[in-house]
């Protein structure tokens, strides 16, 4: 009896768990589904069919138009350049800074940590005017380099804390053992610590890439020339004076999702945890 009851209550709690997860997934993924639905709906059916879960006819015409007749491919490439460069730069800087924060005691460390934290506390809108002025003086308005510099600056703080926590999770004994085995500190970092931090670096890379990829505020403020627009800004070009071209806009949005998916698909194997299992203790 007791066993039967505990079994049924276990099943019940499993059902509850899956129901909760399903609800969350539906809520989170529905906008993406709706984007896809509109992207494949022919222009003629968009308003005439009313609200349906799937159109009676589908078409890929919107995708074709976006690729052939708009500047979207260029925006897309601009975004790739900005996001990949930012992600790489931030990961390298945050890895080195995170390692220092995790392993060394140095003058002003606490102050530095507080200053880094401070950069995360105020709304970005507040800093746009001064940044616009600075970038103007430097001739970096309407420039992808300008965007990369800003994104790198604003993502480094968080990424540093993220990397620091990964380094904190790796026992010091390991690099000390490596240093006794014949490594310099730099060699110990490269040959022993970095291989173990790859999941962390992967997570940082993915996080920064996504942040840069979907950033709109700075891109909108600093970029006005068509040649330098990122896709997030580019999406706005589908909003015309008199009409919004929903089909093309959604098609472009779906295509913009692809690199993020590929990126995470590629990183997934680095995001497995437990790589350090077996390093210490039994």
């Amino acid at each position: 009896m007791i066993a039967g009851r505990s079994r049924s209550s276990r099943i019940l709690s499993n059902v509850g768990l899956y129901a909760a997860i399903s609800l969350y997934l539906i809520f989170a993924l529905f906008p993406i589904y709706w984007t896809l639905k509109i992207a494949v709906t022919p222009q003629s059916l968009l308003y005439s069919e009313g609200i349906t879960l799937w159109p009676s006819q589908t078409t890929f015409e919107n995708f074709g138009t976006v690729l052939r007749a708009t500047d979207f491919p260029r925006y897309f490439m601009n975004s790739v350049v900005v996001s990949v460069t930012t992600a790489l730069l931030v990961t390298v800087i945050a890895t080195l800074a995170g390692y220092a924060m995790s392993r060394f005691a140095f003058r002003g460390k606490a102050t530095l940590a507080i200053l880094l934290l401070l950069t995360q506390t105020f709304p970005l809108v507040m800093v746009i005017p001064p940044i616009y002025r600075i970038m103007g003086q430097l001739g970096l308005i309407n420039s992808l380099t300008g965007l990369i510099i800003i994104y790198t600056a604003f993502n480094t703080a968080f990424a540093t804390f993220l990397m620091q926590s990964f380094f904190d999770g790796i026992p010091r004994d390991l690099e000390e053992a490596a240093m006794i085995d014949g490594c310099t500190r730099a060699q110990a970092l490269r040959r022993v610590i970095v291989p173990l931090t790859l999941p962390g670096m992967g997570a940082t890379l993915g996080f920064v890439f996504t942040a840069a990829w979907s950033e709109l505020l700075f891109a909108l403020m600093l970029i006005s020339s068509d040649a330098q627009k990122t896709f997030a800004v580019g999406l706005l070009t589908f909003i015309g004076k008199f009409a919004v071209d929903w089909g093309q806009m959604m098609a472009a949005s779906i295509m913009a999702l692809i690199p993020v998916c590929i990126f995470f698909g590629f990183l997934q194997r680095y995001l497995v945890t437990g790589l350090t299992a077996g390093a210490v203790k039994g």
Binding site: P171, D173, L174, E176, A177, A178, M179, I180, D181, G182, C183, T184, Q187, V192, P195, L196, L275, T276, A277, G278, A279, V280, K281, G282
Partner: protein, 354 residues
């Protein structure tokens, strides 16, 4: 192989002094154990020899060479960590061969050395495994193997057996000792376990609060501890300390009025307080005469028995071979071998007399 010389070595963290003027001469091929309670500075001292901690004062020499400012990698030492510190992303073969790889040793040579060490430690069938696929004992062996492969001047061990279960610990203790007898490499071994120290060491260094208390062969420390700390730390079950007063004619009077005959000619004034150190095995249960005591706890170990008895108001431990027929609550009589009595000044803790 080489000797290790510590000359007035000091370590400070800011204003906190963790090691005071440590002088120690470790001979070539000697197995020296640093022992003491946690926080006594033994691990810090070992890490200073390894080059993992900076030296605040004094000099450390390996062989004739001053190594104070030499990087760990250039000291030609090997260290076994308490946590083993195996590289998780490398298999056993790579873990053991890593140091040789860094020295750009020829590949065939690396194979031979790793193979030899693996065979010696019974690891030959595990060479392709990752550390996480090994048991605690096997990981410990890999850590040992990594040290052996290098054929260093000095082996450093930082509580290498603390993470093993009791049975395996005893086994590995014997193995490490046997290994040292084969290789004869100078070894410095840190532990908080006095049994490990007694069983493995050529010489023991007892440390407390950053100060070396006594250096000597295991049995010398056992028989002639220089102070109450060493006396209490070395030996298990530990030495009993009974408070007493020195009376005329060479007697010690216990708090409850019972007396103990002491050797003549002790440099003590009449009426001075004493701490009488008695090893549990030097107290015997007798039928007549001696001290009266009451049995409180009996711990039968099969081969021997430990009794905890109250003598006056003090609880002391008595060790007897076999299984004496004694019950809890019983009044018994105890005799003490006067030659085995240790006397200490309760104020300074120092040994009195020879």
């Amino acid at each position: 192989m080489a000797s290790v010389t510590l000359d007035k070595v000091e370590k400070n963290y800011g204003a906190v002094q963790v090691l005071q003027q440590v002088d120690l001469q470790i001979a070539d091929g000697e197995f020296v154990v640093l022992v003491g309670p946690s926080g006594c500075g033994k691990s810090t001292l070992l890490r200073m020899i390894a080059g993992l901690e900076e030296v605040s004062g004094g000099a450390i020499r390996i062989g004739e060479r001053l190594v104070n400012d030499v990087a760990p990698k250039d000291r030609d030492i090997a260290m076994v960590f308490q946590s083993y510190a195996l590289y998780p992303h490398m298999d056993v073969r790579k873990n053991m061969g890593f140091s040789l790889l860094l020295k750009k040793t020829e590949k065939s040579m690396v194979e031979t050395r790793v193979g030899g060490a693996a065979k010696r430690l019974g690891l030959d069938t595990f060479l392709e495994r990752l550390p996480r696929q090994l048991s605690g004992g096997q990981r410990q062996r890999v850590a040992m193997g990594r040290a052996i492969v290098r054929d260093p001047k000095v082996f450093l061990f930082d509580e290498p057996l603390s993470n093993l279960d009791a049975k395996l610990r005893v086994h590995m203790r014997t193995e490490i000792k046997a290994l040292h007898q084969q290789l004869k490499t100078t070894s410095v071994y840190v532990t908080h376990d006095q049994t490990e120290a007694m069983t493995m060491a050529d010489r023991i260094v007892v440390m407390h609060d950053g100060v070396v208390q006594q250096v000597g062969a295991p049995l010398d420390l056992y028989d002639k501890p220089v102070n109450m700390f060493v006396a209490g730390f070395i030996g298990s079950p530990g030495m009993n300390f009974v408070s007493a007063t020195y009376a005329k004619a060479g007697n010690a009077i216990l708090s409850d009025g019972q007396t103990l005959r002491l050797p003549d000619g002790l440099p003590i004034e009449e009426g001075a307080p004493l701490s009488v150190g008695l090893r549990p095995e030097n107290i015997a249960i007798t039928q007549q005469g001696g001290w009266r005591a009451r049995v409180e706890v009996i711990e039968p170990l099969g081969l021997s028995t430990q009794f905890y008895v109250t003598l006056g108001e003090q609880l002391i431990c008595v060790f007897a071979m076999g299984r004496p027929e004694v019950k809890v609550g019983q009044e018994i009589l105890l005799t003490i071998d006067p030659a085995a009595v240790h006397l200490f000044d309760p104020e300074t803790g120092r040994r009195i007399g020879a």
